[in-house]
Amino acid sequence: MFFDPIVLLEFLVYGLIIGAMYGLMGAGLSLVWGVMDICNFAHGTLYMFGAYVTYFAFFLWGLDPVLSILSATLVLFVIGIAVDKLTLLPLRRKSREWLTAAYISTLGLAVVLENTALAVWGGHRKGVAYYYAGIVDFVGVRISVDRIVILMVSLAVMVGFWLILERTRIGRAIRSVAQDKEAAMLVGVEVDRIYAITVGLASALAGAAGGLLLPIYLAYPTVGQDPIRKAFTVVILGGLGNVQGAFLAGVILGIVGSFATGFLGAAVEGIITFAVLIILLLFRPTGLFGQAR
């Protein structure tokens, strides 16, 4: 085990990138959870679609990488709204017991989406080797331009999302529904519309994450399974409904995981995440940063 600063910095950068992706996934999931009280099990498949859309935008339409990712974000926003209107809305209309039904339904949806992708696109991995060629020399350490760009865009997306939540009317409406649904209705917020937009936003984030990580995780039908497991952990680590907390937690988990994998090998990776999750749930279910409400 060598503590070569170059290797350490590589772990760190990689960890930051993966962490940013976890953060994006977790932020979206946390938002849906905070607003609607459901855990969207189909979130991972939304990531997967984001990766595929980015891939096709890049190769079929020849868009440049950033535009490809943006198109994935937009497409997934629409898909997210559709998901809410088609699967969640009918359940809400049914009965007050819609929560357990919703969990099972989102799991069913995840299965449908994953296997449809398998049937339509096949199981082999599609991807890009890199978006931008080139290596940058940074205080004597070489990092690929790709990774820096991914990191910058991830941060930009996160900041954009935060701005939407904090500074726009829609964002205020979303936060109000998360705090107190009945009170929001009293002041005239259309809760159903907000629910749809929330799912759309969360899906857009997942789609962006999928596109951003395309050079690293590639695109294949089950690519979303690992991100969503990490997202569960991140959401709880950051505190339910606490979007900023989720993003921070994601970055932390990414960095910790990167170093753990680097020193202990890939075998422990999945187990560590789940073990962290379970320990958290047992001893500190409110997360590191406390819940939003």
Partner: protein
Amino acid sequence: MIPLITNDQYFLQVLILCLMYGILASSWDLAEGYLGLVNFGYAGIFGLGAYASALLAMRAGVSPWLSILFGGFFATAIGVVVVSSCMRLSPGYVAIVTLAFAEIARLVVTRWVELTRGMMALWGIPPFPNITIGGVFIDMSGVDRTPYYYLILAITLISLVFMRKLVDSRTGLLFLSIREDKESAEGLGVDTTRYKTLGFGISSFIAGLVGGFFAHYVNTLSPEMLGIPITVQVAAMAVIGGRATLFGPLLGSFVLIISGEALRPIFEYRMILYGLLIILFLTFFPEGLAGIWRYLLGGKRPSRRGMIHFDVRSLFSKITLKRSLLNRSILSTKQVCEKVGNE
């Protein structure tokens, strides 16, 4: 019964699968439909029971007749641990924790190659040894799988009768009260921890027992038996058949497996179909096929509003218990509690 009219091994094997998944789905429904505990780690418990039984038989030479019981108890232990970590959590958390447990179990089984042979699959699991009942010799290792059919039939019937009695008893009512409104139930003095552990434990025992049966029936195990697709299949059967009934999931199992066999050509799209059916039934037929079945038998029209709801306070008022397997109104209130306070 059935083997009296046919010897067709294919038919028998399909029946065995139907029964096996049927009792699995029913016991999943015990935890989900009656207690409100959404167990997304069910396959993990089933698989661990299977591996436990198989390994005990293979490494320690224990007879499968006994090792499946051990599989059941081992699964119960795991189940109790899982449910205790979920006690104070909301349904969403329960779903995730159970999912996490199953995935960890699957990962452990996959990586602990010295014990389980991991992805290379554990083959050579001994079948049930031949036994003699009342002077009749029963060959369990032959090509004829009829004895296995009778075995799983026996397991299914005994488990169903047991669960039915449980659900119709006062304990069953308490289960429902916990599902409906945990806080009110606790306020009325119900020890929710104890009943959740009981229900989940029984559900796990059955899963482990049937897992053991499965191990000694197909003689091979792989970590995929702990995977999410198995849980999804079980959940689909319970949802389609009708949650919060015990006969519904069994029906759902028969329907799904038989139609799966009949539609062999589209076998690859099986999972898509299961997922779609889950969504469709949850949305449009929450009472499942059991609800439709009852309606056909002259019962009430299937409600599209979901499973039955009870007011917890009225559950504890003076009630008459109407026992009826098919008639869904299992209780009627003679005298409802006067309202307390300003609710």
